[in-house]
Each structure stands twice: as structure tokens, then as C-alpha cells.
């Protein structure tokens, strides 16, 4: 594999007095899918949100340690530029209450990119990338909120792709979807891996095993174990990882 897309060094995070991340050393390889698993409240979302500084939106958050994006210290990066490079897909699909087309060109508008023609081409390219072009090409002006949950989530992924991120963070992207839609979105992720680096938080261990190349297991704010997915699921080194994946707790 190539280098690291993301890396943390002794990352600590506090919500007020609550110590939510304990000296986390974590890495994500380029053009791979890495999943974060662990019981509820262990800090998976918190860690994920560090990578595009979404925690900045919350009052009373304190952080120390270092985060590297493509080996560049995150402190050195402009937050707007960072969020453009590191996009995020949320647990609940969150298209804006506009038309499909307006949703898709939102990022381009915000970053003041491209002519009308470029926007139209980008919309087509990104809808194709998420497998929605055939379904939506005649419905570009219909409201995005009327779509099915799966289509909304795909649309949100397409919306991210328009600004050409390098890394895509997904926080339980399938938890609002039915099993069949979940499988299809997983296929999409594998497809996207060719061009993007993907980090996914999931509650679903089968999902982690199915899609990811690397897996990190978290417990109570600590990154307990990190390694290749096959190794984590077949021969975990830590007792706590083993207990978790065999379903003994969590």
C-alpha cells in the first residue's frame, strides 16, 4: 500500500472534563477501507469527527496530540481546505431541502468552482459514480427529500464527490438502510476505494469484515487494537478484542 492518508499521534480529546479519546495512535492507509468498530459510546464518532474538525462545532471540546493528513500536520491546514479534502457522510442521510441538482452543486457553489457546463458535467459524473445517474437524470429538479433513504444516502455521497475529496469519512452510513440497500452501499464503497481513501465507523461487525482492509477496535476511548481486518477477526491479539468480536460483550 501507499503511505498514510491519516495518522494520529497521542491524540487526546476532552468533552469538558470527560476524557473521550485516550492517547490514540491510529492510521489510515491510502486507497484502502478502514473500519472502526467498538461498543456504543467508545468514541468512534469522536475520533472520526477529529479528521475533518467537526468537533470544532461543539462548545467545550479540548484536544491535544497531533493529526496528520497525508503527513501534513492538520494544524497547518486551513479548515475550509481540510474539509474539502476530507469529506463526511453522516448516519442519517442529510440532503438539503432543495432539488437534487441544487444539492449536488452545493459544494461547487460554496467553493466557487466551475462554469455552468462544468457543474452539469460534475453532476453527471458524480451521480454515475454512486450509481444513480440512470435513476435520477430525469429527476434532477425534483426535491431531494422525496427520495428513498438509500437514494438519499447515495446522493449525499455524490454530493461529497463533487468537490473531489481525497478521504471520505462515513459514520454508520447504513444504519438507516435496509439490508439489501446496505449491501449495495457496501459495493459502492469498494468501488470508491479505487479513487478515494475510506474510513467507516460501523456497529455492524459483518460489515467491517466484508468491506474493510483494516480494522480498529475501540473501547472506552482507547484504540485497543489495530490491524488487517482478517487478522483482527481471525486472530485478535488482545483479549478484549476477542471478547467483542465473539459477541461476549457490547
Amino acid at each position: 500500500m501507499d503511505g498514510y492518508a491519516l495518522r494520529t499521534e497521542k491524540l487526546n480529546l476532552y468533552y469538558g472534563t470527560m476524557h473521550a479519546l485516550l492517547s490514540v495512535n491510529f492510521k489510515v492507509f491510502e486507497n484502502s477501507i478502514t473500519s472502526l468498530i467498538g461498543p456504543s459510546g467508545c468514541g468512534k464518532s469522536t475520533l472520526l469527527r477529529c479528521f475533518n474538525r467537526m468537533n470544532d462545532l461543539i462548545d467545550d471540546v479540548r484536544m491535544d496530540g497531533t493529526i496528520f493528513v497525508k503527513e501534513q500536520d492538520m494544524e497547518m491546514l486551513d479548515i475550509i481546505e481540510l474539509r474539502k479534502r476530507v469529506g463526511m457522510v453522516f448516519q442519517r442521510p442529510n440532503p438539503f431541502p432543495f432539488s437534487v441538482y441544487e444539492n449536488l452543486i452545493y459544494g461547487l457553489k460554496v467553493h466557487d468552482i466551475g462554469s455552468r457546463k462544468y457543474k452539469q458535467e460534475t453532476v453527471e459524473r458524480c451521480l454515475r459514480a454512486v450509481g444513480l445517474w440512470e435513476d435520477l437524470k430525469d429527476k434532477l429538479s425534483s426535491p431531494a427529500l422525496n427520495l428513498s433513504e438509500e437514494t438519499k444516502q447515495r446522493l449525499c455521497i455524490a454530493r461529497l464527490l463533487t468537490v473531489e475529496p481525497e478521504i471520505i469519512l462515513l459514520d454508520e452510513p447504513c444504519s438507516a438502510l435496509d439490508p439489501i440497500a446496505t449491501l449495495r452501499v457496501e459495493e459502492l464503497m469498494v468501488e470508491l476505494k479505487k479513487n478515494y481513501t475510506i474510513l467507516i465507523v460501523t456497529h455492524n461487525m459483518q460489515q467491517a469484515a466484508r468491506v474493510s482492509d483494516y480494522t480498529g477496535f475501540m473501547l472506552l476511548g482507547e484504540l485497543v487494537e489495530f490491524g488487517e481486518t482478517s487478522q483482527i477477526f481471525t486472530s485478535p491479539k488482545d483479549k478484549r478484542t476477542e471478547d467483542y468480536i465473539t459477541g461476549r460483550f457490547g
Partner: protein
């Protein structure tokens, strides 16, 4: 024992229902009364001669209230031009930028603003705004401009509180989605939050208009009450509400009926505004 408390519960329920219905009854009585008093003149003189008539000389048989209808709309739009940008800015500040402490201070201040009696606004208008307009812009100072300024301030609480509710009810996930794409705070507000709250914001403007068009006391103190259509913002004018308040005390016979006809027109306008605010706009939200 159980049975007894049950009947007591029922009793409370019936008393409350009766009171609730009585407020509806009042609404009905007001409508019936105004229509009963106002309609006969419409039948006698004709609808068009009243609402499209230019001359108001009720003792000589002319009941044209067109200039007043125009004037009422002019002050209402004037109030909106002043109150809408201020009110919306304030609501945006409150919902998006202000800290908790500022909010705790601003919200009661706004409630106070809403609670100030309109005669006080009128008084302030006469003492400060009217001379200011007279000295710097000319005319008597009793004018469309002065009235619009005072009404613009008076409708602020309505616009702010309803817009604020609309803005704060925009889901957090929309904002997160926008920030996560690298939008700045202001881009998020004006490209996502405001469009998402559009219908609530429009409703606040319409309800503000309803408040402005119905305002009476402050208006008669500042508007100058002249019986013609103003041609400049410095001209005096008379509104529908002002007409009723000024003349009712001494009006008799057809004159009195003419004032009730003015009331009918006012009532219809306010009903239309309320209808737009409550149904025309809200239905879109549900869609």
C-alpha cells in the same frame, strides 16, 4: 371513590371546554356585529363606490375609502421595509451567533419591546421622529415616513420571534452537512439555513404586516391623518384604523355605518393576511 374523582375530572373538562368555546363565541360575535353594522351601507351605496371611491365626506353622502386602503398598505409596506431586514438580522444573530448569555438578555428585552403600549410608541414618534423628519427632510413631519419608522419598530418582536423559531427549527444535520463540505458559517446560514426556514420567515413578515395594518393609536398620533393618497413619503396620510378611531366618537347615522364599512374592509384584509401566513405558507412546509 374512583367514580367521584372521575366526575370531578369531567367537570373540569367541561368548564375548560366552555371557556375555550366562549373565546370562539367572542370571535363570532365580533364578526357578526361588524358585518351587521357594516354591510347595510355596502348594499345602499354599492361596494365599488366605497372601496374604490376617492372622496370621504360622510355627512354629504360620499363614503370613498380608497385613499385609506392605499394608505394602510403604504404604511404597512413601509413598516416592512424597515422592520423586515432589522428583524430578520436580529433573529439570525440570536439563533446563529449569540452566546447563551446574550440570548438570555435579548429575549426578555424583546418581550418587553412587544409589551410597550402603542400610545408610548406614538408619543416617542411625536417627540422625536416627527421633528427629525420635519427638520431634516421637510414637510410637517407627520408623514408616511415617520409612521413607517415607528410601525417598523413595533412589528420587530413579531418578526424576530417567529423568524427565530423558524431558524432554530432547521435540523442540525443540515448545518453539519454544509460545514462538512467546507462551507463557512455565513455560507451555511444564507445558502442552507435561511432557505430551509424560508416559509417561517415569510410567515413572520406577513404576521408583522397584519400587526402593522391593524395598529391604530400610534398611527393617528404620527400620520397626520389627511384625507388623500400621499404622493411622497413626507406626505401625511390616514389609515383605515385611524379613520375609525378618529371619527367614531361623534359619528351618527350613515356616517357611523360608513365607519363600520371601513371596519369590514379592514377585517377582510387581516383575515386574508392571516390565511396566507397560516395556510398558504405552512402547507408548503408540510410538503
Amino acid at each position: 371513590m374512583i367514580k367521584k374523582s372521575f366526575t370531578k375530572e369531567n367537570f373540569v373538562k367541561w368548564v375548560l371546554t366552555a371557556f375555550a368555546l366562549s373565546s370562539l363565541l367572542f370571535l363570532f360575535l365580533i364578526f357578526a356585529f361588524i358585518l351587521f353594522e357594516g354591510l347595510p351601507l355596502f348594499l345602499k351605496i354599492g361596494l365599488s363606490k366605497i372601496i374604490a371611491g376617492f372622496k370621504w365626506a360622510p355627512t354629504k353622502g360620499s363614503f370613498g375609502i380608497f385613499p385609506m386602503i392605499v394608505s394602510s398598505f403604504l404604511v404597512t409596506f413601509g413598516a416592512l421595509i424597515i422592520g423586515a431586514p432589522m428583524g430578520l438580522s436580529c433573529a439570525i444573530y440570536l439563533s446563529e451567533y449569540s452566546g447563551k448569555r446574550m440570548k438570555m438578555f435579548l429575549k426578555p428585552a424583546l418581550e418587553l419591546l412587544a409589551g410597550i403600549p402603542s400610545v408610548v410608541y406614538g408619543f416617542l414618534g411625536v417627540i422625536y421622529i416627527v421633528p427629525l423628519v420635519r427638520n431634516y427632510l421637510g414637510g410637517s413631519g407627520f408623514s408616511l415616513l415617520s409612521t413607517s419608522i415607528i410601525l417598523g419598530v413595533m412589528i420587530l418582536p413579531t418578526i424576530i420571534s417567529i423568524s427565530f423559531d423558524a431558524l432554530t427549527s432547521v435540523p442540525r444535520t443540515y448545518r453539519e452537512g454544509s460545514f462538512a463540505m467546507g462551507a463557512t458559517k455565513w455560507q451555511t446560514i444564507y445558502r442552507v439555513v435561511i432557505p430551509s426556514a424560508k416559509s417561517g420567515i415569510l410567515a413572520s413578515f406577513i404576521l408583522g404586516m397584519g400587526r402593522a395594518i391593524g395598529e391604530t393609536m400610534a398611527v393617528i398620533m404620527i400620520a397626520g391623518n389627511a384625507l388623500r393618497i400621499p404622493v411622497s413619503i413626507l406626505d401625511p396620510l390616514r389609515t383605515l384604523t385611524g379613520n375609525i378611531a378618529l371619527e367614531l366618537a361623534y359619528a351618527t347615522g350613515d356616517h357611523r355605518l360608513g365607519l363600520f364599512s371601513t371596519g369590514v374592509v379592514l377585517l377582510v384584509i387581516i383575515m386574508i393576511l392571516n390565511y396566507i401566513a397560516n395556510f398558504g405558507i405552512k402547507r408548503k412546509v408540510i410538503k
